[in-house]
Amino acid sequence: MNLHEYQAKEVFGRYGLPVQRGTVIERPEQVAALGLRYPVVVKAQVLVGGRGKAGGIKLAATPAEAAEKARAILGMDIKGERVTRVLVVEAAEIETEFYLAFVTDRAARRVAAIASAAGGIEIETVAQTSPEKIARSDVDPFLGFPPFQARALGRRLGFAGAQLDEFVRIATALYRLYWTEDADLAEINPLALVGGHLLCVDAKLILDDNAAYRHADLPASEELTPLEREAREHGLAYVELDGDIAVIGNGAGLVMSTLDLLAHFGGRAANFLDIGGGASAESMQTALGIVQRKPGIRSIFINIFGGITRCDDVARGIVQNPPRVPASIRLTGTNEEEGQRILRDSGIAAGLDADEAARVAVELAGGRAGKPGSR
């Protein structure tokens, strides 16, 4: 889950990380009551990157000007995301910009600290143009990020004296935040030198959805559509796409290959729902309810290969909530005979192989099915 800057900065504040004074507002009139020192910066709160270039960050010298900028930014469309909130913060005179982040490195299967003296620009750009400016320090999860390791990283960025001590305090606090809050990414860019002190001018926080149960205090995600949120509350992964065939499958890999398969036969998925491992009859019932509520669905493709998921459970779920649009069902794997019998007894066909079932789903949606590809 990706947090907004203002939400990330609230969390940063709790860990003693230095952030500018500021408040998030939804209406321009609210600027007057903020009691901030001017000039201020008005920042669009969106989850996509590149908001500065899109005109979503503006400097304002007076309350009147701040209200005007807020009015201009609120309601703006930044790469398809509508701005409904702006963060107003006291402007900072930035002398130098650094970069600091803790990130889960999946290939190395561990946490890494990434830091650079070339801050303020996207770190991918730095990685491409001047990789020598990026310092990396791997974290032993049983050791955490001790001050000596933070100190070594700070020296590689050129810090010394009191500023090095400040860097060590910030890096160790950021790691504590990263680990305690179950983050996938905790990023400060820029970590700026302002009046001789380090300040977290921007904050990015991506949290691990699997660990949400440990953090009831954190804000709810705003990236999801209402149906996506409802699916998640039921423990189902649902994603909206822009075609007209609803897809239910089990397992991320199978669902992805199902989308590829529909595309191969000339169809387009409207959405997909992964009922996951060990799905019950109830979760199948819920899944059917959710995928069909999206407008414009013309057919439904259920592609189940049972492992930990039992075909008989899935079939019971389908029978209890039969599809309202034409359906093509492929059901095989654990307890498949029992599953197919349950469907047959209710007059639902389910004996097709995956390629055949995908072709049928495309035909049912009124699309022109291509010929089967290399087999």
Partner: protein, 288 residues
């Protein structure tokens, strides 16, 4: 001999008294697996399908000589279960559990490395050596003993491809499920090393998906070291661009991670990549 599990495996099941644990214990027994013990705190002294249940892994190992472990416990207890298994030197430790926090997986993997123990998963289907041993949830009836090694990031796609191989008359040496989570215990390269060294494995199928760069690493390894024929399938060619990629994550993986990039890397390494799941058996057969 196959790899990772076989006739010598004496399996301990954590979470054996749960719905999934009990159900799959029965199926593992039917597949010929020697399931010697179960562990569920608070349920010691009972039996599930005649398998004795213990309070702790320590007691179970002393009493039964268990040497491998599969974990079916809920996500919030999976970290402790896996650490307990590693501390008792069970090897491999196979984590079926889905939804385990990534930081928990990082700790388990680091701890296992320190103990020289192999972890498979989390969020994987386990590992099966057909005719000898099934650890996890792969449907037994799809398999047939043979010489094709399978390594996969996806459970259901593994079943799909194993079924196709069996229909095509291509039996399997071992099928290894790596798990679909961002951080898992065993990589493609580590599994390929084992298959490459296994005289009973004559060909390899690699099943990957978008995200990360494990397939690219595998391609580099194959180009350098693998003489056996390799076929592959990569899921997610038409998936929408990921919503989950963070900035610094992209630094580490560079431009790698898309299906096109993975397919290109594998093809450049001489791997036959099938555009559809159903195309894998024929592609592999053509290379044998």
């Amino acid at each position: 001999m196959a790899i990772i599990v076989g006739g010598e495996t004496r399996l301990l099941v954590q979470g054996i008294t749960g719905y999934q644990g009990a159900f799959h214990t029965q199926l593992m027994l039917e597949a010929g697996t020697r399931v010697v013990a179960g562990v569920t705190p608070g349920k010691g002294g009972s039996r599930v399908h005649e398998v004795p249940v213990f309070e702790t892994v320590d007691e179970a190992v002393r009493d039964t000589g268990a040497n491998a472990c599969v974990i079916f416990v809920p996500a919030r207890f999976a970290r402790a279960a896996a650490l307990e298994a590693v501390q008792n030197r069970l090897d491999p430790v196979v984590i079926i559990t889905e939804g385990m926090p990534v930081h928990d997986a990082i700790e388990v993997v680091a701890y296992a490395r320190g103990h020289g123990v192999r972890v498979l998963g989390p969020n994987g289907p386990g590992v099966t050596t057909p005719g000898q041993c099934r650890v996890g949830i792969m449907p037994t009836h799809l398999f047939k003993p043979g010489a094709v090694g399978i390594v996969s990031r996806s459970g259901t796609l593994t079943y799909e491809i194993v079924a196709g191989l069996t229909r095509a008359g291509l039996g399997q040496s071992t099928a290894v499920g790596l798990g679909g989570d961002p951080v898992v215990g065993t990589s493609f390269v580590e599994a390929l090393e084992l298959f490459n060294a296994d005289p009973e494995t004559h060909a390899i199928v690699l099943i990957g998906e978008i995200g990360g760069n494990a397939e690219e690493d595998a391609a580099r390894y194959i180009a350098r070291h693998v003489k056996k024929p390799v076929a592959a399938y990569i899921a997610g060619r038409t998936a929408p661009p990921g919503k989950r990629m963070g900035h610094a994550g992209a630094v580490i993986s560079g431009t790698e991670g898309t299906a096109e990039h993975k397919v290109m890397a594998l093809e450049a390494a001489g791997v036959a990549v099938a555009p559809l799941v159903s195309g894998v058996p024929a592609l592999l057969k053509a290379r044998l």
